[in-house]
Amino acid sequence: MLRGLFKQKMTKKPVFYMLLFTGLILLVILIMQPLQILHFREKIAVLFPKGIIAIEERNLLFIIQILMLIIIIPVYILTFIFSWIYRADNPKGNYDPDIVDNRIAEYIWWGIPCVMVLIVSILTGIKTHELDPFKSIESKNKEMTIQVVALQWKWLFIYPEEGIASVNFVQFPESTPIRFEITADAPMNSFWIPHLGGQIYAMPKMKTVLNLIANEIGDFRGSSANISGEGFAGMTFVTRASTDDDYHQWVKSAKQSSNTLNLKEYNQLAAPSQNNPVETFQLKDLSLFDQIVNKYMHPHKE
């Protein structure tokens, strides 16, 4: 009998109401999720992706989730059941203060999680190599290279093969594997188009690679996923996967843009600015990206 317990107006079956109330909250949350998903479907990029990389990543998420639920759901059920059956005022609780150990139980709950982890590890090991961002995507269409520079606080896209560049806007044909070569001339950023696939850091002096492909046409939101200073929240860009014809149209109009981009103009562009509007450029210097990557590798020659 718990000595000296505070005086409290105990209502009838307080444990019952506690479990009920908690259960109700959990049920509401559980119901909210599919309702949210139904309502927001178009916006839930990670669960309803538009590119094969993102689809693979989502499928892995689902598989791991289901495996984990196999362990979590029994834990929740046991929590509720034990709380009810073994509550203090239940005479049918079979009170036995000396049950303090059980070998079989320990084997089970060390063993089953080990097996789970083994399965998930193997799956993860395989998928991580398959979904390596640096790995090219196999496709019947020829791969296209787009170079990306994270600046303060906008994204610069350089098309070395087409001779154009754009700010806060990137367009490419659908079903074409895109090889993004990414760097930064700013603090660490992260290049992320959730509808098409996972992110990778955009870092000065470094060149990371992200291979993505869009399965259908559409406009997708891209952003920076790592804080890089004051204007970082405005670092969004539009990703447009279009038909081949529309893409070539756009390239043609960009080549006729009044803006040009060489190293000098790049330095002006790189000055800190926020919420830049979309712009296109004629690329005057095809090695601009490499120059940006190498910018800090050697001392400035005065």
Partner: protein, 658 residues
């Protein structure tokens, strides 16, 4: 003369002025109150110069509660801003201010709430649980507290003078380098964390030696209470991880102050190394704040199930395993930084492995309840909430530990939901449970149980409302640390729900704060009449009076099994004999306070480049240390007669309750 400190540092945005004035007002009121009650001498003698771990523990908790106010205020501001700042509206915080707010939120909560909570609890409980009268290094322990308080105060100073860091709670370079953040913000952050970090390291050494050397006769390692085991597993993490933080921040400081090139973009610096080093500290850090809370729950569940902890040996090994593995998982914090798949997979597997012993602990707790008699007092309610939330958040952790999945959710609100589930569901609920559980031990009266329950329900429902939608927001492409977004993203309704959840938590926290004062006012009504054992406890701290006498144990107990107090109650161990002797306790010293104050001045001077002041304060610290290390250890004696009198008074009080 004043370095780079000018009058401009005192000018703030209108949204900050309110906070500054209310803080100054509160400080003046406090000083006025103490003067009015003529309690300065008492404050000095009983609290500021004490080396008694019970007092130091209470001081830790006081600082934690104050810093929690600050950190939680930051959280409310973040959620309010994000609920308002859609499309054309830009909320009420500027981008820069918003970035200061979340950087301060993270820094405060981890370094000054969570770390303070665990060291406070350990100060209060460890000596009592191992049957000791003191810790191994009483002065070092006090010094650790004052350095902690000094770091905390420096962040508060940063609210009024100048501004705080805007680079997040870990301040990655190049953003935190001198080129992109030339202002004093990062420096404030560096010195506050460095000073507090040194304090943590010293406290870690202290508790490690205390547990290893000062257990009472008969208490072998496998007969220690499980909370003490969790502390024993945590202290090596502290001792081994914090020096990495110290060295890394040291290198960042050198970059910023002396133009070095550790983490700069040019000059050959490698900022990715910072990310590696800071997380090599950072991951053990999150286990440092978590393991003692596991220990707390391992004490609470058996007590309120009237049963021994199920699988004690298994629980101990799980703790050791977790502590060990926590050093080899750090890369999972930056899978997206471009490491090769093989490297990513290694760390992914290590991260998944660490989930196994954690799951084992959950099963052991559940089966402690099996065939027990479970009382749903408020500590047990907090355990219940912990079980539900922490398990769920742990599951999302396994999702995050798989690199391809992580690529899609890294740095999104999914991540925020995960780690808040661990930090709030685990660390904070553990702290609340510990607070309500051990409060009667150190004060002699209970917290108001009804208010506890109301607060609990607000916290549980508020937490779920404030953090479950974040998982969905992460899937919708919402990254963390955004101060503004477009309406076309569809995030706004969810941010509003999250904001409402934050306000429900605010109600819960308010109930807790007022409940504390309410309980103190009504203490006569809630007095503990059991003489120190209100919960029918099993460990040694419940065998002495509440609050404990200054020497803890009049007679050092001898134990021969786990749960020694239960053994006595069940007749399996003899009641200790009352053979008293003179007790020697270390005397008070102001050196800890002085070194803390000089450290504060040093940190402030370094932040503002006031070099002469930095040198003066540093030399003063050295002088204090030398003075301290040159004196003899002096003790005060509590004679047998005095001990007899204190024990007799306690016995008389017990008789009067019958």
């Amino acid at each position: 003369m004043f370095g780079r400190l000018t009058l401009d540092a005192f000018k703030h945005e209108s949204s900050q002025n309110g906070a500054v004035f209310s803080m100054l007002f509160g400080a003046i009121c406090l000083i006025g109150l103490i003067s009015y009650l003529k309690r300065w001498k008492w404050l000095w003698n009983e609290w500021l110069t004490t080396v008694d771990p019970k007092r130091i523990g209470i001081m830790y908790i006081v600082v934690v509660l104050i810093m929690f106010l600050k950190g939680f205020g930051d959280a409310i501001m973040i959620r309010l801003q994000q609920a308002m700042s859609v499309g054309d509206s830009h909320g009420f915080l500027s981008s820069t201010h918003f970035q200061e707010v979340f950087s301060s939120h993270g820094t405060t909560m981890i370094f000054f709430v969570a770390m303070g909570a665990i060291f406070g609890l350990m100060n209060l409980i460890i000596p009592l649980q191992i049957g000791a009268r003191d810790v191994a290094f009483p002065f070092l322990n006090a010094l650790g507290f004052w350095l902690f308080a000094s770091g905390a105060f420096l962040t508060i100073v940063s609210l009024t003078i100048g501004s705080f860091s805007t680079a997040g709670w870990l301040a990655y370079p190049p953003l935190s380098g001198i080129e992109y953040s030339p202002n004093e913000g990062i420096d404030y952050w560096i010195w506050a964390v460095q000073i507090a970090g040194v304090g943590s390291t010293l406290s870690g050494i202290n508790f490690l030696v205390t547990i290893l050397k000062m257990r009472c006769p008969g208490m072998t390692l496998m007969k220690m209470p499980i909370f003490t085991w969790s502390a024993l597993c945590t202290m090596p993490l502290v001792v081994l991880a914090f020096p990495i933080l110290t060295a890394t921040l040291y290198m960042l400081t050198l970059d910023r102050y002396l133009g070095m090139h550790f983490f700069t973009v040019d000059g050959g610096g490698n900022y990715m190394m910072y990310v590696n080093l800071i997380w090599a500290w950072g991951h053990p850090e999150v286990y440092i704040i978590m393991l003692p809370m596991f220990g707390v729950f391992s004490e609470i569940v058996p007590t309120f199930s009237e049963k021994r902890l199920f699988g004690y040996v298994s629980m101990v090994w799980a703790l050791i395993f977790i502590a060990f593995i926590s050093f080899i998982v750090w890369l999972h914090h930056f899978f997206t930084m471009g490491a090769s798949p093989t490297v990513n997979v290694f760390f992914a597997i290590m991260t998944m492995i660490i989930a196994i012993p954690t799951g084992v602990k959950i099963f052991n707790w559940l089966f402690t309840k099996f065939r027990g008699r479970v009382h749903f007092t408020s500590p047990m309610l907090w355990f219940f909430a912990f079980l539900l939330n922490f398990t769920f958040a742990g599951m999302t952790g396994i999702l995050l530990s798989s690199p391809p999945v992580d690529f899609q959710v890294h740095n999104s609100l999914f991540l925020i939901a995960h780690f808040h589930g661990m930090a709030i569901g685990g660390v904070l609920f553990g702290f609340f449970a510990a607070f309500t559980y051990w409060f009667p031990k150190f004060t002699g009266f209970f917290l108001d149980e009804t208010l506890n329950r109301y607060a609990f329900w607000c916290w549980l429902s508020g937490f779920l409302l404030a953090f479950m939608p974040l998982y969905m927001l992460g899937f919708m492409g919402a990254t963390r640390r955004l101060d503004h977004y477009d309406a076309s993203t569809g995030w706004h309704p969810l941010f509003v729900i999250v904001g409402i959840g934050a306000f429900i938590i605010l109600i819960g926290a308010t109930i807790q704060f007022f409940g504390l004062f309410w309980s103190i006012i009504n203490r006569k009504k809630n007095w503990d009449h059991t003489g120190g054992d209100p919960w029918n406890g099993r460990t040694l701290e419940w065998s002495i009076s509440s609050p404990p006498p200054i020497y803890n144990f009049a007679v050092i107990p001898t134990v021969d099994q786990l749960d020694p107090l239960w053994a006595i109650k069940r007749g399996e161990a003899p009641i200790p004999q009352k053979r008293y002797e003179n007790i020697y306790l270390p005397i008070n010293t102001p050196m800890g306070l002085y070194i803390g104050i000089f450290s504060l001045i040093f940190g402030f001077a370094m932040t503002w480049h006031i070099w002469w002041l930095a040198i003066v304060s540093f030399v003063s610290i050295l002088v204090c240390v030398i003075i301290r290390l040159s004196g003899e250890d002096e003790h005060e004696i509590i004679t047998v007669a005095q001990v007899k009198e204190i024990e007799a008074a306690h016995a008389r009080r017990m008789k009067s309750y019958e």
